[in-house]
Each structure stands twice: as structure tokens, then as C-alpha cells.
Subunit: 362 residues, 2 copies
């Protein structure tokens, strides 16, 4: 098998996914030249300054792209493809990052001439924040990245794209468009719709002001881009409806147990859900084995620096840090995640500075 | 109105809420002596070391408590109260932190003799992590703390308890038990149950491994203490069933729009949800006006210290910091939240160290 490496990659659409992809490729594969463009020309200077792309992608460079990744919303995909088509040369590999794969694969199949290879793509990473400024070079770290290759796609082309995706830190998962669309209905589209339903069932501003962390986290994605999501749900309508039907039935089971005050059944249902949740892999592989330290520190300029410097100078790498709660101009609680074998030493160091701290299991 | 201050407070039950409450009172009201106990005697030394309480609460001290806060799960409340009752003296104020107020107020009304004042309480703060080690002195900062005073409770007693709650940083909200129970059904109990339903509608381990941030956040609370939640749902059964019925109807509206491929209606429903979500107050008041900086830094021991020290030395207070993504032993992206007026200076400082950074709207 000949390995076909990409020397040039073009990114069409510099929203949060496209821009993050540009940053990630530039970062992980310095040998690949990254061109990018957006229908909004005003993004050009910002994209260059942020290091999202090496150069703006002009039409005459399209023929020089080994790989073209369409990062535009689903409903514009056809128009964008029609626009690009005249400039493409045989041998180019086309991929996309659309959230529904069936319709995109049909579009590629119907529109692309022979000789242009296509592989559907969908990184399961994102943000409720959109746009260039929300870009993150490490968005794809440990994220699943689904590829749906066409039947006619040469094996070495799939291998090259897989290699690139692994290079930016993602896990390649290969499946059929149908499998993918059913899966994202369950793990993404139904949750999204449910987040909106949860907002609808709230009564008024009084309810909003009483929202705790749970409700807040559960409805965060309800504030996502409406047009994007309307299209995702409609493009994946059959799979979403099926998954919603299934969701309704599970909801009915809970309601039945509650109506009958069936404590045993309710316990069973909650336990099953909890067990499954605990089996969900943590989002960052490197945190699989980690220890949490909690410390109370004064919330004054420099204190965070003191704490992190003390640990850093002792060779202790902070995997994660979170300001759990804070009182303005007063003390705050922080959570610091370190490797388990470094936790006792870190704890001693913090205590030696007069900082109240303890270890917490995760 | 005479202000009745509390000199001594007893906390019964040192789970995450009780222990956090102890820490918070000790922290904010150094004049109040905090006693605490748990049926698990082995917690004694850890609770003292963590600064959760001043002393273990022995039965003979009960008569000396001006304020007693029951922080035990709902189903044990009656037993605990029976246990305490013989030692209580008239004038003592009793409160609790139970998630359902109707049944607790009935218990207090039925069991407590005249002269012992009672006010139901419920801080809308918590954690899916339970137990003493999850305690956080600042858990109640800006959290809503509902009080449901009894009809017979003197005004000055309510004023004293309100004052204490404000001192630990929470917002006092006074309502009737019925209003409270209806409200928490919507903002807490239905979301909790829905998180479990979402776990049930997933198909297998394959689904779990593909979970992105949205699903992860939406199902976090599905891993909470099952026995605690079974009881909360059963204690608040009528209100939860009503709220669930309402939730089902909103879900039906979404399903109808999707079935009919009614793009306009689907857009409208998602927009309404999004608008409402954006009206939800941020969890920390002090962050209402803040700027986010995103920086790419090498993930090596000490780098975080360098960044935070640079900003600290320049008098820039970091309100929040989050490691957005990280590649083990490689670079990572961090988000730093500062006051908007300090953002340009902070950005310049980071750039002067050769760190790629930009500002992001929040």
C-alpha cells in the first residue's frame, strides 16, 4: 500500500470547527501547508493573526489542494460544492465535518466526478460558542472523529486521512453513514433537543434565577446556533424521530414507577442510569488516572501564580485546574488535578505554605 | 424588632451540604461556634482537620445550640428528630437543608413542641459528589437559599437566620413549602430524572465512547446518589409528576414540528429555548462582567505558574481559569477570565512572553 501524504490542505468555512481544524493541522503537521477561506472575507486578517491558516485560499489554489475539507453548515454544502467543482482536479480528496453523513454522502456521490475521492467526516467535538474566535487548536484531542468512506475510495486515501486525524489527536472511528446518523441521533441530536425541552418546561424568570449547576449544565447547549441545529435535526429527521420515540418510552417507565410509588423500580432505573454514566470514558484520556486536590486560597492577584509556581518548581505537572467558587476580593476554592503519585507531595507543599488543602477522590 | 444573633450552631449530618455549611459559617462568622456530628463517628478527625467544625456535637451540647441545622437525607429526618427531641430546649431554632419542603414542614409541625421555632431551608447548591471530602467552603456563594418559615415563627428568628445565610454568600429567597416544591420539581427534579432517561436511551458502550461535551454535561447528575434521589422524587411525587407531564407536552411539540418537517416551527421552538437560556443568570455574580482570554501554552510543569505569576505581578486578578484542552507533555489551551478593563493589558503581557493568545467574547 502506497502511503499518500497530503502536502496542502484547504479549509472552506472558518467557523469554530474549520478554524480549530486549521490550527490543529498547522500545529501537528508543520509540513502541510494550510489554506483556508470563508465567505466572510473580513475574517482573513484575524485568521492569519490567530495562526488558523498559512494563507487565504484563493480560487486558483484549489487545484493545488491535495485535501479539501468543507466546514460549512449542512444547508450550504451543495452551493459551496457547486462553486468549487470547476476548479477541482482529479486526485483531490474531499471531506467535510457535517453532523449528518447520509445526505452529505449522497451529495458527494451525485455531484463529484470520478477521480475525486470523497470521505465523509465528523469530529465529535465542538462548542456551544461558534465562530473563528472560539477556535481551539486542541479541540480534537481525544475526541472521536468519524469517517464514512465511499465504496469507491481507495484504501490508501482513507489511510492518509486517518493518519492526519490521528496526528491532530483525535480517535478515528470508521462507520457507515447510516450507523453514524443513528448514533449521533442518540448521543447528540436527542440530547440537544431535550436541552431545549428543559428550557421550555421552566415557568418564568423566577425559575431561571433558581437554576443550579445541574440545570445550567443540562441546558448549556440550548443556547447554540438555532439555524445550524434546525438543519441538523431536519437533515437527520428519521433517525432523530426514532431515537426520540425510544426516549419517550424510557421517560414513560420513570413516570410509571413514580406514579405507582414503586421505590424498588425507581431505584433500579436510577441505578442503571448511574452505572452507565460511570462507564462513560472521561473526556481526556490523560486524566483517566488522576488525583484531585482541593485548596482554599485567597482570591488576590498573584496567589494562583504562587500555588502553580510552587507545584511547577517541584516538577509537579498540573493536568487540570478549576476555580470552584470564589468570593470577590476574598478567598476561593480551587481544584487541582495531578498524577496520583504526585498528589501526596503536592498536598505537603500546599500545606507548607499555610494553605488549607485536601485530596479528593475522582 | 430585636435582632437575635446565634452564638452556637449545631450541624447534624456531615455530608457535602452539612460539611460545606459548617466550613462556610466558620469562615464567614468567626463569632459563631460550630458544632457538628454525623452518625458515622469516624468522620470526627477528618471534619476537625478540614476545619468543617469547631467541635464534635455531643448530646449534652444540644441544649446549648441556638441553631440546629439538620443536614441528613429526607428519609432519616424523622428518626434524627426523634433522637434529638429530648435534649432540645425552648428557644432553639431548627432548620434543615432537605430538597423537598412540604413533608419536612409537616414533620416539624407534628413533632416539635411549642417554643422551638422552625424554618425549613434548602440551599440550591450541591455537587454530584457526596460526602465530607467534597465539602466546599464557598459552595453557597451566590446560590439561592430558600427559606420556608412556619406561620408561628417569630419575625426576628427569620431575620437572624436570613442574616446568617447572607453572611455565607447566598441569596435568601422566602417562599411557601408548596411554591418551593413546585419550583424544584421544574428546576431540579425533572432535569435530574431526564439526565437518567438520556442515559437509558443510549444503546451500548459504543454510544458511551462517542459522548461529546454536551451529552457528558447533560448526564453528569445521573451519577448522583441513587437512594438520596429516589427519596427526593418520591417525597415530591405530585409536583414532579405534574412537571413531567408538562415536559412531555413540550417534547411532543418538538416531535410534531420535526415529523411535519415544519422548519419555521422548529426554528421558533429552538429560538425560544435559546433566548430563555441566555436570560439565565450566570452562576457567579462577579463574572457578570468579564472577559475571556484564550492562550496556547506548553503543558510543562511550571508554565501555568509562569502565566499566572506574570498576570498576578501586574495586579491582574484571575477570576476563573480553565484548561480547555491538553495534550499530555505537549501544548495546551487555557482560558483565563479577567475584568474587561484588564483584558488588553493581560493580552499584551502574554504576547510579550511569546505566548499565542487572543480575547474571546463571553
Amino acid at each position: 500500500m502506497t502511503r499518500q501524504a497530503f502536502h496542502t490542505a484547504g479549509i472552506v468555512g472558518l467557523g469554530v470547527i474549520g478554524a480549530s481544524l486549521g490550527m490543529a493541522i498547522k500545529n501537528s503537521c508543520p509540513d502541510i501547508r494550510v489554506w483556508g477561506k470563508d465567505k466572510d472575507e473580513s475574517m482573513r486578517s484575524q485568521a492569519l493573526e490567530m495562526g488558523v491558516i498559512d494563507d487565504w485560499l484563493d480560487p486558483e489554489q484549489l487545484a493545488d489542494c491535495d485535501l479539501l475539507i468543507l466546514c460549512t453548515p449542512l444547508e450550504f454544502m451543495q452551493d459551496v460544492l457547486e462553486d468549487l467543482l470547476p476548479q477541482l482536479r482529479p486526485g483531490t480528496v474531499i471531506s467535510d465535518v457535517g453532523s449528518v453523513k447520509g445526505p452529505v454522502m449522497k451529495l458527494f456521490r451525485d455531484m463529484l466526478p470520478g477521480g475525486i475521492h470523497y470521505i465523509g467526516g465528523h469530529p465529535l467535538a465542538g462548542s456551544e460558542k461558534g465562530g473563528l474566535l472560539a477556535a481551539d487548536a486542541f479541540l480534537f484531542e481525544n475526541a472521536a472523529y468519524v469517517l464514512t468512506p465511499s465504496d469507491s475510495c481507495p484504501h490508501e486515501v482513507l489511510a492518509s486521512l486517518s493518519e492526519l486525524i490521528k496526528a491532530i489527536g483525535a480517535r478515528v472511528v470508521i462507520m457507515s453513514p447510516r450507523e453514524h446518523d443513528d448514533l449521533v441521533a442518540r448521543v447528540s441530536h436527542v440530547p440537544h433537543l431535550i436541552a431545549s425541552v428543559l428550557m421550555h418546561q421552566l415557568q418564568d424568570e423566577g425559575d431561571l434565577s433558581m437554576a443550579g449547576g445541574g440545570l445550567r449544565d443540562m441546558t448549556r447547549i440550548a443556547a447554540s446556533d438555532v439555524s445550524l441545529w434546525t438543519n441538523i435535526l431536519l437533515f437527520n429527521q428519521p433517525a432523530v424521530l426514532e431515537a426520540l420515540h425510544n426516549t419517550q418510552q424510557h421517560l414513560e417507565s420513570f413516570i410509571r414507577a413514580l406514579k405507582q410509588q414503586d421505590k424498588e423500580e425507581l431505584t433500579f432505573l436510577l441505578e442503571q442510569a448511574g452505572e452507565r454514566r460511570r462507564q462513560m470514558p472521561r473526556s481526556r484520556a490523560c486524566l483517566d488516572d488522576a488525583a484531585d486536590l482541593v485548596a482554599i486560597i485567597p482570591d488576590r492577584p498573584g496567589t494562583l501564580g504562587l500555588v502553580t509556581t510552587i507545584l511547577g518548581e517541584a516538577g509537579i505537572n498540573i493536568h487540570d485546574i478549576q476555580i470552584m467558587s470564589v468570593r470577590d476580593e476574598d478567598e476561593g476554592t480551587i481544584r487541582i488535578t495531578v498524577a496520583p503519585e504526585q498528589a501526596p507531595k503536592a498536598l505537603l507543599l500546599l500545606k507548607s505554605q499555610g494553605i488549607t488543602a485536601w485530596a479528593r477522590m475522582i
